[in-house]
């Protein structure tokens, strides 16, 4: 029910139908682990709202319907030329096909991990891949130090090299339980369970309500009827239209 009629406007490259993406965000993760739990992910209308955001981001520097690294930098730092190690990592993880651009489907699927209802295991694993700079399957000590140095460089924090060494040593001792000089995914999971704030960046707390507001800002009464399946607004819409 709720017939979805596609808009006849030109779509960006790599565009995928909202109904397909809605079905595949967070729910996909649950099924791949063998469980049949239906975890709520993005609704169809939320994916449509994300498309509006995507169009805006992907046209900000090069108007080709694809998010380039400069456009991500512009969105995050208000400066398209600002280089940043962590933004680079985010870009690489979002660019699943590794073709140098983020397409709409990749955008939605990756953002799905940041949804408040996304499985915690997915957030933990995404963070692990983020910090595994050279994608060796482990977080090595020199990668950790490189990231700390990158953060100090980016911010106003001034800490001596000795101090950085001390903090990296201690963190590694706490996390590298097997003592083999690197943090593997299991050790990372264990470490995060003791320090849950480590994945706070992996949730955008108001993502679902932000998207709700994006929908409502431009929706018409006709579209309210169409959205009835997701939001049961028909009653509200009728009241609104007769007011």
């Amino acid at each position: 029910m709720g017939c979805y009629h596609s808009k006849r406007t030109k779509k960006t490259p790599g565009y995928e139908e909202p109904t397909v993406l809605a079905a595949e965000t967070p729910c996909e993760y649950a099924l791949s682990e063998g469980s049949l739990l239906q975890i709520p992910g993005f609704t169809v209308s939320e994916v449509e709202a994300l498309y509006e955001l995507f169009k805006k981001l992907s046209s900000s520097v090069i108007d080709d319907g694809l998010i380039h690294k400069e456009e991500l930098q512009l969105a995050l730092f208000r400066n398209k030329n600002k280089r940043n190690l962590f933004a680079d990592r985010i870009f690489d993880l979002f660019d699943v096909k590794r073709n140098g651009v983020i397409e709409f489907g990749e955008f939605v699927r990756s953002l799905g991990v940041f949804h408040p209802y996304a499985p915690v295991e997915d957030k933990i694993h995404f963070a692990f891949r983020l910090y595994d700079l050279r994608q060796t399957g482990f977080i090595e000590r020199d990668e950790l130090k490189e990231m700390v140095m990158a953060l100090l460089h980016e911010s106003d924090l001034l800490l001596s090299d000795d101090f950085v060494e001390t903090i990296v040593d201690k963190t590694f001792r706490d996390a590298d339980l097997k003592g083999d000089g690197k943090i593997d995914p299991d050790e990372w999971k264990e470490f995060v369970s003791k320090n849950p704030s480590l994945i706070k960046n992996m949730t955008l707390p108001h993502l679902n309500s932000i998207l709700e507001m994006l929908e409502f800002a431009w929706v018409s009464i006709q579209e309210l009827h169409r959205l009835q399946v997701n939001h049961n607004l028909l009653g509200a819409a009728k009241i609104w239209s007769t007011a």
Binding site: L144, V168, L204
Partner: protein
């Protein structure tokens, strides 16, 4: 239901949303972190200190809220610096500042607070993190409200107070 949504609306400056009148900015930041802090066990001294990954997560490159909020600016909306002053002293200074400027303290933690003033135009959150027993990171962030208000108040009023010995 529509009214409830309207009162939660955000003012975007972009073309993709219509600005609703009479809105209040949503606090994008820190809700998850505050929950985690509250749940930390008291006896674990080690876990109240920042580890290397905590430091890394300060990066604005890892804060995707900026994708959704046009008014958010990682450069102007916050600052972090290292301090050797005791966190208790620092928090006292901040509390006194709030009192003098007649700001309402919205949320209070052991080493942090969030205050609001000027009819919701000014929203500042200040938090102190422990690096070691003698070294602390002070973080001041705009947690909502107007960016100009925050910048002006932080640079000209609150920051000098905190940095004064």
């Amino acid at each position: 239901m529509f009214d409830a949504l309207q009162s939660r609306s955000i003012g975007f400056n972009s073309h993709i949303a219509i600005k609703k009148g009479n809105h209040k900015e949503i606090n994008f930041y820190d809700e998850e972190l505050n929950k985690a802090d509250d749940e930390k066990k008291d006896g674990e001294l080690a876990s109240t200190s920042l580890n290397a990954f905590d430091i890394i997560s300060f990066s604005s490159g890892l804060n995707l809220s900026g994708l959704f909020d046009d008014s958010y600016n990682s450069v102007d909306d916050g600052e972090r610096f290292v301090s050797t002053e005791s966190p208790e002293n620092l928090m006292k200074k901040v509390e006194e500042f709030a009192k003098e400027e007649r700001l309402r303290v919205k949320r209070r933690k052991e080493l942090g607070l969030e205050m609001e003033g000027q009819n919701g135009n000014l929203m500042i959150s200040v938090e102190v993190y422990r690096l070691t027993d003698t070294l602390f990171v002070v973080e001041a962030k705009r947690s909502g409200g107007d960016a100009g208000c925050f910048k002006e108040t932080w640079k000209n009023k609150l920051k000098p107070v905190i940095m004064a010995t």
